[in-house]
Amino acid sequence: MAPAQREIVDRAIARLRDLPGALLPILHEIQDQLGFVPPAATDLLAQGLNLSQAEVHGVITFYHDFRSAPPGHHVLKLCRAEACQAMGSERLEAHLRERFGIGIHETSADGRLTLEPVYCLGNCALSPSLLLDGELHGRVNERRLDALLDGVGVKSPPRSGCGCGKQGGCS
């Protein structure tokens, strides 16, 4: 683990370890800051919370939210549940595959976009719905999806340069 990552893990443990049932809040804090939970954090968490490594590993892998590797620059969580299916969410899935060559749980080759599934966002009357970098969008069709992705600077390959302005750029 890089020192900066380790510091974030250590700080999350120190800050939250006294909460009852602290493991989930700590994991959220780590992922909020790093975008994933580094596998090497398991040992630190186990020590810090007086749990076995197996327990910590079991918790991390049980929950769909926690990633063990960094996601792409932008994360799109597409709702796959029934109400969104009723309004054509599968077409959005196909559209993303066509434009970026990615399916659910995949990241585009240029590392700019990760597609993750989500099962209902509570926006079922304005379906299909998705979260783009944590922001909810409803009544999404292919055109609107393209516009949303354009808005955060995710363009179809092979055009390069994300333009999203994030430090370090998009590689």
């Binding site: 327990e55 079991g58 009723a86 209902c120 509570g122 304005l126 969008h137």
Partner: protein, 510 residues
Amino acid sequence: MTVVYVPRDSAALSVGANAVAEAIARIAAETKVQVQIVRNGSRGMLWLEPLVEVETAQGRIAYGPVTEQDVEGLFAAGFLQGGAHALRHGPVESIPYWQKQTRLTFARVGVTDPLSTADNEANGGLVGLKKALAMQPAAIVEEVVLSGLRGRGGAGFPAGIKWRTVLGAPAEQKYIACNADEGDSGTFSDRMVMEGDPYMLLEGMVIAGLAVGATEGYIYLRSEYPDARVVLTAAIARARAAGWIGDSVLGSGRKFAVHLRIGAGAYLCGEETAMLESLEGKRGMVRPKPPLPAISGLWGKPTVINNVMTLASVPWILQHGGAAYAAHGVGRSKGTLPFQLAGNVKHGGLVEVPFGLTLRELLYDFGGGTASGRPIRAVQVGGPLGAYLPASRFDVPLDYEAFAAAGGMIGHGGLVVFDDTVDMSRMARYAMEFCAIESCGKCTPCRIGSTRGVEVIDKITAGTQRDQQVVLLRDLCDTMANASLCAMGGLTPMPVLSALNHFPEDFARS
């Protein structure tokens, strides 16, 4: 100064409410008109979102759905004086969709500023809590028993009876655990309460605490609701600052603390014992019952576990009396339920009505049929573990018992509408796939059976030994229904078999 309401409910945000609010503020500033923009909750007429309301002498005038691009035209049309415009719907409370409802629990949602404590109190907030503070715990419990309120999370267990058990369980520490995991597709009433009237939920939790002798409350909120998290976090802080929760509730010397915890994307953690495990920081594995959580729940202590809507219904019940609540509804289904119209429906949204309406009334009188304009073919009621019903079942009244007798489940009140382009074999397959993804893995029929179920349905639709495979699928469903520890494995056969039984033709094409 004209007051303009632009909802902050996440459904409204998802279709551009923030941009609309910004445009209104910008043009008002440019044209030097004084407006006060209030970010209210949503009225639940979601097909009209963003639904902008303007306060006038004739009441609050509604315009919707408003886009950022419409705002200039609205100013030109004099919308601040309630002027005519293609998007104008007249006084919001005269829109039939609103007028035909019985808003008990959702009375303030969409009306007030969700985070304003003053707005809350001016509109009936805290009345129930103040009454409860003057009552004996057993009397509060009996008021809830009298109301007939049943759990809104799905199982429909009488809330008062559960509270009675917790009240009677001697312990140093007891808990109130609010189930805000709302994982069912097609449901959003919990979300709308948390975003639109969070103090009502907190008030309900405090009353529950007073009733059973609990001083700590946990809200287990799903991570898929980032906007609800923001509102709840702010509401808890403000309620604490106002002395509504904390060490001395409304100066009574009685303590009630509220903690917010965030789930991590597991549907199963909505099951109450899995939720307890998750709150304790563990994997969300289902616990065998007994012991009941009411006896041994969170950290082994007596715990009231209730859905958001259940707890949010309690302030009204205390304010107006259990008998007044029980006067609504039919049979053993007392009070109102906020139904949620979702999926392929023209007028999607939240409809709070007494139990007893038919599906047809909700789907057509409120919903207006499909969004696509095609015929409704199937409706899934009660979430991903609920049955798919064909038009021949649309006249069954929505009460827990009558609906169960007709092979359905009201659950959390979500209705997901599909038009005639749906392939029901795919929906059946999805139900099995969803079970495979979300199973906690404790029992074999659920863990393995769901994956086998996907394979068997694939064979059926591919036409490989179709008849034998259909027999196999029924067998499999039988095993899952009878040998699963919880309703995840136990009820997945509901959508699967209802699809197969009501729409056999979809399984016969290849």
